[in-house]
């Protein structure tokens, strides 16, 4: 290995080590077996630094609830659910936007404006076409049935400005509403890395996480290079016949 190659590998390995030592998830993209072994031995070394590790009491309580309820709770992340074979409601950006009909919008990740309730919106030039994005599966926030309820945000579809997110809350669910042409999409307002509320930065046209300076574009996709974060989960949204936007919260 050349000196520069070794330095680059050392740099990359230290980033992984630093994250793990900070208690964060291990993100490895090793190039060869030697890298893999080095990362695994690093994880082993990090694994004994606390003597005997125990679950936090909060995590233990949550696990207890999972076992008692026998179902995947809201906090369960997608990876865990998929690995457990539970399946999670997933939407695809392209599929979610295709042809919802006002009045029958429950379960849709994007809702159309109500028929004839507002003047026909004029798509601005250069607006990204959501259906042109690669279809990728996205997690969907869906409160438990006994708690879920549609919340009127008070915001009229006609008042939403193309590509400018509006922050709303519906009980325990925080969301950004984003208008895309004739559609409104709702997505979680919480960073998928750490649970901090994202902030819309109009000048940079991005949703910024104040905790780690990570950003998402207006469609909720991570702008981080290298190891992108999961996209912001969708929140269910619909438009009432009077033109007000509702989201499914608690």
């Amino acid at each position: 290995m050349g000196e520069r190659d070794e330095e680059r590998t050392a740099e990359r390995l230290d980033r992984i080590v630093s994250e793990v030592l900070a208690g964060r998830r291990l993100k490895a993209m090793p190039s060869d077996a030697a890298d893999r072994d080095a990362i695994q031995v690093a994880a082993r070394l990090a694994g004994v630094r606390d003597g005997y590790p125990r679950m936090t009491s909060a995590f233990r309580r949550r696990l207890g609830r999972v076992l008692e309820d026998g179902e995947a709770p809201g906090w369960l992340n997608r990876r865990a659910a998929l690995a457990a074979g539970l399946g999670l409601a997933a939407g695809a950006v392209g599929g979610a936007v295709a042809g919802p009909v006002a009045g029958k919008l429950e379960g849709m990740m994007a809702a159309s404006r109500p028929p004839a309730a507002t003047p026909a919106p004029v798509p601005s030039a250069g607006t990204p076409d959501p259906t042109a994005r690669p279809v990728s599966s996205r997690e969907v926030i869906e409160p438990r049935a006994e708690l879920a309820r549609w919340t009127n945000t008070g915001i009229r579809f006609a008042d939403l400005v193309e590509g400018v997110p509006r922050r709303v809350t519906a009980g325990a669910v925080g969301a950004f509403l984003v208008r895309r042409g004739d559609q409104v999409v709702a997505m979680s307002s919480v960073c998928t890395h750490l649970p901090c509320e994202l902030v819309w930065q109009a000048d940079r046209k991005l949703l910024n996480c104040p905790c780690h300076n990570l950003a998402y574009d207006v469609d909720g996709q991570s702008m981080r290079e290298g190891y992108p974060l999961p996209a912001l989960p969708f929140v269910k949204v619909r438009v009432r016949n009077d033109g007000r936007v509702e989201v499914l919260g608690t």
């Binding site: 793990v20 080095a38 990362i39 082993r44 990090a46 630094r49 003597g51 995590f59």
Partner: protein
């Protein structure tokens, strides 16, 4: 609980006490066992976030078994087998390798859960076989929580130099672990 806390299990054949299924609510039994699973996983992934994710996965897969009223021993075996498989998936996803390859990997494979302290002993054994400067670096960085900058200051070298040394030390440690 009578059946022992994590870390006390499996130390010797006489110490694992098999309780009838009705001795404790299945959820409590499972939680006690999951504490042990968590420690087992944490010792291999080295961070809380991944350890919690993987323990969740194991818990979810165990639910149907709990409902069947399985015995404590059966639950324990099942949880541990599931934890191994979850770890194999974890590393295979990180490394882009087939799971089968990792299932027999030295880092994943283990006949039974290790008692508390065995992970520590194993790491100590690895460290003891390294050259003194590598050992010191890894001890400071991993076991005593020094930042890389602090390690560099302690060992009297530059930050760039210490990063390369960390790489070499980890590779040396991996060779010791694989060979020994």
């Amino acid at each position: 609980m009578e059946h022992g806390r994590p870390g006390q299990l499996g130390r010797g054949p006489g110490e694992v006490v098999e309780l009838p299924a009705s001795a404790a609510p299945p959820v409590d039994v499972a939680l006690e066992e999951l504490e042990f699973v968590y420690a087992y996983i944490f010792a291999r992934v080295g961070n809380r976030a991944d350890a919690e994710d993987l323990t969740q996965q194991v818990a979810l897969k165990a639910i149907p078994r709990l409902r069947e009223g399985s015995s404590h021993g059966a639950i324990r075996s099942y949880l541990f087998a599931t934890a191994r498989s979850a770890l194999a998936s974890f590393w295979s996803a990180r490394f882009g390798l087939p799971e089968e390859e990792l299932r027999e990997d030295i880092w994943v494979a283990s006949e039974r859960p290790e008692p508390a302290g065995e992970s520590v002993e194993r790491v100590e054994r690895i460290l003891s076989q390294l050259p003194a400067n590598y050992r010191k670096l890894l001890e400071l960085r991993f076991l005593r929580g020094y930042s890389l900058k602090e390690v560099a200051a302690e060992l009297g070298t530059t930050l760039g130099g210490i990063k390369v040394m960390q790489l070499r030390a980890l590779r040396a440690a991996a060779r010791v672990a694989v060979d020994g």
